[in-house]
């Protein structure tokens, strides 16, 4: 029996998931093979018109769990199906922890969905082999209505092929408990490490745990969470210099980066965070219950915090800098993409086009999220408070750092940063492993001429 299991594993696991096809699949467009450019000039072959009365059924995979994005997705589908009675969109909620592994495996066997939640930035480019460029299906004028459409595009240029429709803008941000802050005598939000230290001390002196960190709000594994903090930790340098992390001219082992991480680790060492930092599966629930004064999440958590805490919750930006913070992570972090093996591409594309419709963007706003289409606006007060940092207070918009570093480096960081933040690995060793992962990449994956 074990030999059989060995045989199965030998085929499925050890052999890294062989393709369903017996031979390597040639590039669909020889002229673009190896260039990284999609075959956007290839004419599409519609299988059914969205206006036809013939019943069409497609599948959409999402990994939102209980985030506000999930009800928004179901609302999109309901609204679209009402407009197109012949179309049925089967929404499948996949586990967030291994969502992309599932999507990749399904793409190889071409058994996956037509539409799928996809993260933007280099996450998109990493998966573009099974994503369909939308340029032939949706007018560029419509695509460019979505803010940050470039982050879901090949080489971050929409004209090279758009893969993802980012239907909402996201921030990484902190939430704080106003009553607990008042109880500790805190009257203003911190904007530097030094001010944060004072806030932490006051909270602790009042018997209040300052931060709670963990995976409670989403189904993601702990590995993604350090990047919320790292995005703010790296605001010590201008956003234009983040490319240096990509091309290696600013090594991950740079002492200034390590010093930033060390300051974060000191938060835990000083007892300002929960002990099981980043591995607490009930962290968000503990924050909602008032057991900690601050937590880090993003716009997807706004509706949940408001529902549980009402007006007692406020937003803040992690002040992980020595000079007053002037940056915010505001980014189209995800959206929907169409797979290149979809049998009803025109219908799927029509659904994606619908996301630019005011009715769809109202759904986004109603869920407390930030609509991404130009001219639309958020209706939630916390969402608007977050938008105001860049829109009216002069803060610089930063991308999510995990979306603009190579997937291989991101994956290593997801493992070692958790250990470093938890204090079980030195920050030096963690950063060294990220640097090793970067330097192990072929030189053309560390280009200084742009992200690839």
């Amino acid at each position: 029996m074990v030999y059989r299991r060995f045989a199965a594993l030998l085929v499925a696991g050890l052999l890294a998931g062989c393709s369903a096809s017996a031979t390597p699949t040639p590039s669909a467009n020889p002229s673009t093979a190896g260039s990284g450019a999609p075959s956007v000039t290839t004419s599409a072959a519609p299988s059914a018109s969205p206006t036809t009365a013939a019943p069409v059924s497609i599948t959409l995979w999402q990994n939102y769990g209980t985030e506000a994005n999930a009800p928004a997705t179901y609302a999109f589908v309901k609204a679209y199906e009402a407009l197109h009675p012949n179309v049925t969109i089967d929404v499948v909620s996949q586990p967030a922890a291994n969502y992309f592994a599932l999507l990749t495996a399904a793409a190889i066997s071409k058994t996956g969905p037509c539409l799928a939640t996809q993260w933007t930035g280099l996450f998109t480019l990493q998966d573009k082999s099974y994503l369909e460029p939308l340029n032939n299906y949706i007018p560029m004028t419509t695509l460019k209505q979505f803010k940050g459409i470039e982050w879901g595009s090949n080489n971050f240029n929409p004209d090279s092929g758009v893969y993802v429709v980012p239907w909402e803008m996201q921030t990484y941000n902190g939430f704080y408990n106003k009553k607990l802050f008042a109880q500790a005598g805190i009257t203003s939000l911190p904007t530097t490490w030094a001010e944060l230290a004072v806030v932490d001390q006051k909270l602790k002196a009042a018997g209040i745990q300052p931060f709670v960190y963990g995976t409670g709000a989403q189904g993601l594994t702990a590995g993604f969470y350090p990047y919320y903090d790292l995005s703010y930790l790296m605001m010590m340098i201008p956003v234009t210099d983040w490319q240096k992390l990509y091309d290696g001219s600013l090594p991950w082992t740079d002492p200034t980066i390590q010093a930033q991480l060390d300051k974060w680790v000191a938060l835990k060492a000083n007892g300002y965070t929960n002990k099981d930092v980043l591995n607490d599966t009930q962290s968000f629930q503990q924050f909602l219950a008032g057991k900690a004064a601050m937590t880090l999440e993003g716009t997807w958590a706004i509706s949940a915090v408001e529902k549980a805490m009402g007006s007692n919750v406020g937003v803040f930006l992690p002040p992980f800098v020595d000079q007053p913070l002037k940056g915010i992570v505001e980014f189209p972090g995800d959206g929907f993409a169409m797979t290149n093996y979809c049998q009803h591409k025109d219908v799927a594309a029509d659904f994606l086009k619908f996301l630019a419709d005011p009715a769809a963007q109202k759904i986004v706003a109603d869920e407390g999220l930030i609509p991404s289409v130009l001219g639309s606006s958020a209706s939630d007060p916390l969402a608007n408070a977050l938008l105001s940092f860049a829109a009216t207070q002069g803060y610089t918009r930063y991308p999510m750092i995990d979306n603009v570093i190579q997937g291989e480096v991101q994956a290593v960081g997801a493992t070692v940063l958790v250990a470093a933040f938890a204090g079980t690995m030195s920050t030096h060793d963690a950063l060294q492993k990220m640097q090793d992962a970067l330097m192990a990449l072929p030189a053309d994956r560390r280009s200084s001429s742009g992200y690839k």
Partner: protein
């Protein structure tokens, strides 16, 4: 039957060897020669992962000796041997996922192990094994040894049941004690069963612990419990570099093959 084996096993193996020389993203591939292997051998994480597999390999003698000793006692029909035979076999019938969850609950900072230590007044030695790279690997190895304990015990009990009783009687007549009987009679005659258990345990350790590690530690902290098998998954499905993952798969295949052949030859030469 041979065609079926070739189609289901041989072809994927050959494909994997081929893909290990390509830049393969799961959809398209291009020939890059030995680049994947060069990249792999220059990756410090790969060597750490290989070290983790070496630790697993080093634990296999323990996973053999303990069941062997228990099987010997059961074969001697110690009190309650029927109950223990069933109890020891129980982990074999439990899925790796459940074993992983049990492992977490047992080794967690607020888990069963530390609870027991506190209860017996040894709170000072309690430890959070899963929080450090070395500790987590120790926890995984202990869980692994426990999980294969039942299978190996049954293999050895079965082996002992097949041994010729007249040889034992002759040993007793010659004045051999329990220890001498074990060393000079039982173990030599059990050689093929030990060999079988070793290879089975080796294969399990190197190619069947994915679920356990995925549930228990996800390969962490850091890369502390990432084995070659888990590394294949991470490279293929976390970062989409299937060609590199195929190269790791080939390395894993070669290692298991080499150890198995070496072990077989060692036993064969001793038998000769």
């Amino acid at each position: 039957m041979i065609l079926l084996e070739l189609g289901l096993l041989g072809l994927p193996i050959l494909q994997t060897f081929y893909y290990s020389f390509t830049d393969w993203n799961g959809q398209t591939s291009s020939w890059i020669g030995l680049d994947n292997y060069a990249r792999l051998f220059n990756d410090s994480t790969f060597w750490q992962v290989l070290g983790n597999n070496a630790l697993l390999l080093a634990s296999i003698p323990i996973a053999i000796v303990i069941p062997l000793a228990v099987a010997f006692l059961l074969n001697e029909h110690v009190t309650g041997w029927r109950f223990f035979r069933s109890a020891y076999f129980l982990p074999t019938a439990i899925s790796w996922v459940v074993i992983g969850i049990v492992g977490i609950r047992f080794f967690a900072a607020e888990g069963i192990l530390n609870g027991v230590l506190r209860t017996v007044g040894l709170g000072g030695v309690q430890t959070d094994l899963l929080s450090s790279e070395v500790g987590a690997m120790v926890a995984v190895i202990i869980t692994f040894i426990w999980s294969v304990f039942g299978t190996n015990t049954i293999i050895f009990i079965t082996g002992m049941a097949t041994l010729d009783r007249e040889v034992y009687e002759a040993a007793h007549v010659d004045g051999a004690g329990a220890w001498a009987t074990l060393v000079h009679v039982t173990l030599p005659m059990l050689r093929r069963f030990i060999q079988f258990a070793f290879i089975l345990t080796l294969i399990t350790a190197f190619t069947a612990l994915f679920s356990l590690i995925f549930v228990m530690t996800s390969g962490g902290p850091g890369f502390g419990t990432t084995t070659l098998e888990f590394f294949v998954y991470e490279k293929a499905f976390a970062t989409g570099v299937f060609g590199l993952a195929a190269a790791i798969g080939v390395v894993l295949f070669v290692i298991v093959f080499a150890i198995s052949i070496t072990q077989l030859r060692l036993f064969r030469s001793r038998a000769d």
